[in-house]
Symmetry: C2
Subunit: 272 residues, 2 copies
């Protein structure tokens, strides 16, 4: 692990990352020593830093550190955490705070291949997402909602939980974005009020346009999910993962366009 | 600073407190070596831990550590941070995680006496509070909303900012609870959807009952604030602090019952 370029795993307990969750993170797939979708992760990190008023790490230095840690990894997850650092009295962020930069590798999550072949099970979480446009889309460090939602079940047969916002709109999974398919149209929830704008979600939205597959971003209700022809979820590690069962209801995998799945896989494998 | 009983200020960057803001804290006034309202802080910490599913620190040991750090302090702020510790894959909290316990003293904030004599200025924040009953009242570590709200102004003449929830209800200040007075009745916002149940708020609610001062907990609108006869804010360090100006409008300090102020001061000074 590198913290501000030094080999350590220790951070000051006065860091605002600990005190207030005052920062953000990226979770990046590493395949054969390659940082998948690096430019997109970098851009989201920079955009999130800008919105939170945190000075973003210098890109070349960040890439050098990330590459040094992952060069010999076949499969791994690179996590980058950027916090506002130490400083400021109470909540007021100091202009002089030096951001902290934590970079490390975690093991690749080895999910069974049948997750992709047969689809996964998803449940509905009772823990909701608070509405806050100021934080919407950012992959920030305030993740208690996800922690409590994920703590709702321990059955390993259930892979993911679906979260609604406080107005009852369907937003996302605890660790993934959601897509429905209805009559050949892909629908993914609007994240203007809350939720994380996943990198893979962005890839899928762009690839759909490239492949001429109709895709709309709009408000989604639980009824929309129940009446969908197919459901899939996405994140940077799983790519596209079909949902076979949601809340006891079965869904077909057929409507998920194989061209889209193949295009996502090509992007992840770096052959595109 | 003591972390898990050891003299250090370094915490593992893998701690879920950093990764997800997965924990909570207390901010305790220390006056003449005495931990003000210790029992109440301990109870809120325990109740918050229970709701988040974190094993609370053992009370006697926590008090011993807190006392050791503050014994010789005339005026200071004791901060206790409890996190879920290291462990669990992704958001899923591990049952085996050993909570982390961070305890340290910070300098007492030296506000001018005229804040209490003449009242402070408060502004309206545009950053709102997300609605989430699962997290409401808990003094947890997910504080980006407060950080962004407090970052809205740098004018030192403004002491506090008022925050609304995403439905437009008035909830609290960035670091204080809110009370209005209307026709002799004290009104404080209901925190069932969001907000922090401040220790001083609880003291005030109880003291009002003891002193036979009418007090109601209910939904509060911005119109209610504008039409109030008086406003005051509270937290564990400031006790009761009158608001002279909110959003350009002037308020009288007269309606704030002096018996309540005196009773709060006695509680803080330990003479009650």
């Amino acid at each position: 692990m590198l913290i501000n370029g030094e080999q350590t795993d220790q951070l000051s307990a006065l860091d605002r990352g600990i005190q207030y969750g005052d920062g953000l993170f990226e979770t990046i797939a590493v395949i054969d020593g390659r940082l998948c979708l690096w430019e997109r992760h970098l851009q989201r990190l920079q955009s999130g830093c800008k919105r939170l008023g945190i000075t973003a790490p210098e890109p070349a230095g960040l890439l050098a550190e990330a590459s040094a840690l992952t060069r010999h990894c076949q499969r791994a997850v690179l996590k980058i955490v950027v916090t506002r650092g130490i400083g400021g009295r109470g909540y007021h962020p100091s202009k002089d705070a030096q951001p902290s930069r934590v970079i490390y590798c975690a093991p690749w999550p080895e999910y069974p291949a049948e997750y992709w072949e047969k689809g996964i099970s998803m449940r509905l979480c009772s823990t909701g997402l608070g509405i806050n446009p100021a934080l919407a889309q950012i992959k920030h460090l305030n993740r208690l909602e996800q922690v409590l939602a994920r703590a709702e079940w321990s059955d390993p047969a259930i892979f993911e939980g679906l979260m609604l916002d406080s107005d009852g709109h369907v937003i996302e999974g605890t660790m993934s974005n959601l897509f429905l398919i209805k009559k050949g149209v892909i629908i993914t929830p609007d994240l203007k009020h809350c939720g994380v704008a996943g990198i893979m979600r962005g890839v899928i939205i762009e690839l759909a346009a490239t492949l001429n597959i109709p895709l709309v971003i709009e408000d989604v209700s639980l009824d929309d999910v129940k009446s969908a022809d197919a459901i899939f979820i996405s994140n940077s590690l799983i790519g596209i993962l079909p949902v076979r069962i949601f809340s006891g209801q079965h869904y077909s995998l057929e409507p998920i366009p194989s061209a889209l799945i193949q295009a996502v896989n090509r992007q992840m494998s770096g052959h595109d």
